[in-house]
Amino acid sequence: MTAATTPSIDLDRERASLERAWANGRGLLAWLSVTTHQAIGMRYIVTAFLFLLAGGVEALLMRLQLARPDNTLLTADKYNQIFTVHGSTMMFLFAVPMMEGMGVYLVPLMLGTRNVAFPRLNAFGYWMYVIGGLFLYWGLFTNTGPDVGWFAYTPLSGPQFSPGKRVDVWAQMITFTEISAMCVAAELAATILKMRAPGMSLNRIPLFCWGMLVQSFMVLFAMPAVMVASNIFLLTDRTIGTHFSNPAEGGDPLLYQHVFWFFGHPEVYIIFIPALGMVSAIVDTNTRRAIFGYPAMVLSLVATAFIGFGLWVHHMFATGLPQIGEAYFTAASMMIAIASGVQIFCWLATMWTGRIRWTAAMHFVAGFVFIFVLGGLTGVMLAAIPLDLQVHDTFFVVAHFHYVLIGGALFPLFGGFHHWFGKFTGRLIDERLGKLTFWVLFIGFNLTFFPMHILGLRGMTRRIYTYPSEMQWGGANALATAGALVILLGGILFLVNVFTSRRNGEMAGPNPWDSGTLEWATASPPQNFNFLLLPAVTGRYPLWTSFKERIAVTGLRNDRREVLVTTLMDAEPHHRYVLPRSSIWPFVTAVLITIGLIGSVFQFQWYYPGIALATIGFLGWFWPRAQEAEP
């Protein structure tokens, strides 16, 4: 990679040409045809946020029901549906798509390219996700909401004990969201490996992109398991009479648990690893130094991903598996604390030696460290089989995984919202209100979930819709419900901040925090083509070098959606590559596939017209267009 003196370029002409090539058009049809990553990423983020609100309302309903003994706000049946939809929403419709959305929005910017590698696949994945989410809520509002827990264990979820269509709705919602997650994983991994700015060798990739890369590989290897579990196991057992989980015919309900948790445990890291990347991005910007121990950070992410696939049995300690096997999973569960611990120490070292600027985002990072460490400690406790057997299926476990997931994913995510809000909207979010939001959420969170540890130790099992007053669980439950209301207040503060700042906030400019990575090298919000001239880099923090040392890429055609493909390891320029324009076919294909998938919930034979229709969709998608100018 040798750079020469930049020839004189007519930037205005360049811009006008790029604007034409990347224009999304107006009208409903154009809106449905959008394939630019900022638009799709923002749609993911907004949609996932709406599902977070829905899941939050469900959580509040549960907390209100449990606020006092013998409460009758919800019936047992409604309560079952609500906790199942709450868990499924938070895992499948909020957490994973939200992380994917942040990745879809930020990764191409951080890598210095114009879009993801497969823009139409990106749009297709989004539509599948939306349809799957709406399908689940259609179920809930028509009293067909799943009621067997977010992991739908057989035999409870099997045909014998769960007649009706509730479980099928859950199982097929999984199919939609998993297809979506796999689309994003494949496209982000290909983008990160092949479309980086020249000079961005593997050891210069921003840590958030490393996180998304590792997460993408985890999605590729973990999500097939849940599709096997929900689609091959559950749906076929329920609709066409297979016997995968029927012990009378040689099947085994425990096998379902194995397959489900082979997905379910990595799922936690699929949510959590992108959040770690956000923490790194916030910490290096706000300590104004390069992250401490970059190689150790990357290796820990990779190690976490590998070990994450060897933990699933710790969800099944109470099923009577052979002890030697359980001992292995105990050891692995404790080992993963090492990989997480290395990262925590790297961040602490970065903060210790840097000059900390206490922005709202940094507050959320500090909150993350506090809460996540507590969740990690109860995780090490739960890895010990004797303790796990005592508190299995109690509120202790509920407390643990909310500490890990809210602490480990939601706090960094809110930190990320505050950090990148200026990039997303062009205006900065109000810092004082942001810090207030943090404190309200932090206090509300601990008030809600800390008492649950004690409730669990006192024997309160999860998923009970009420309890008698003699159990003496009323006080701690009332406290937890009060905490939930504080969290609600925090949520309202955040929304108020978002809406007022979007309108009246201070203009952000390209790089309000003086960050070092490439997403800050362009306008806020970025235009559809991201960069007027694609950047090349010579270090991990290209914006922390002096302007004299900056390098641009010239010679790409700007009358079509052309990007640069670079080599895998060293990101040497290799060839140019034309990305497709807007297309309605991803949307049409998603709708056509939906006919088969939703139909099959009611009658398996719907798969056949579904396959035929999907073929039509893909034909339209792949058929050569005259408008796609060939090189």
Partner: protein, 205 residues
């Protein structure tokens, strides 16, 4: 403001029909998904085996030997067609692509037909015990994948032969060969599991 120095990429080729193309990687990643799915199915097969005394269960015939073996040979041979098409795509040889894709289809379609034939006189369905469920599960999913890729290959053949054989289509042909190699390669352990499993890990009826 323009950065003082720059790299000019105008001379780089405007496309690549090779493993440097992002699409090649995307396709590779989707085979990871399929590979994991099939690996889980194989694990399920042997897991279910452990919970049954007799394998296959009483009343269920052993899987046939001759037709599936011939079909396997045909499938492996069909990779040569994919290989020829993919090599032709790299050097922009339209006729080579047409020949290769046609050879691929000509060998693979009979393999699928033979497979369907060999099922014809099986005396069990997916509803006949968990053995039937897992055996049919593997066969159904792999055949669905084969069918989908054959349909895609056919569409590619029609496009290349009648509509256009530009860089996008050539990359499509090249990447299609990856999928096909994968589907044939993964069939070998699946074939061993489904057709030899009852012999290897079976117990007398």
């Amino acid at each position: 403001m323009t950065p003082p120095r720059s790299i000019d990429v105008a001379d780089l080729p405007p496309f690549a029909v090779s493993s440097e193309a992002p699409l090649w990687w995307g396709q590779l990643f989707l085979t990871f998904v399929e590979a994991t799915m099939f690996a889980i199915l194989i694990a399920m097969y042997f897991y279910i085996r452990l919970s049954m005394d007799v394998w296959p269960p009483p009343g269920i015939q052993m899987p046939p030997e001759v037709l599936p073996a011939i079909a396997l040979v045909l499938l492996i041979a069909s990779c040569y067609g994919s290989y020829r098409a993919s090599e032709a795509a790299k050097r922009d040889d339209r006729w080579g692509m047409i020949e290769g894709l046609a050879l691929n289809l000509g060998l693979a379609i009979p393999a699928v037909v033979l497979r369907a034939f060999s099922w014809h006189d099986w005396n069990f369905k997916w509803t006949s015990t968990a053995y039937g469920s897992v055996t049919w599960g593997i066969l159904f999913l792999h055949t669905l994948d084969l069918g989908a890729d054959l349909a895609f290959t056919l569409v590619l053949l029609i496009i290349v032969a009648l509509v256009r054989s530009g860089p996008r289509q050539r990359l499509g042909v090249h990447v299609d060969s990856i999928v096909w190699y994968f589907l044939v390669a993964i069939w070998i352990p699946l074939y061993v599991t489904v057709y030899w499993g009852p012999h290897l890990v079976g117990a007398p009826q």
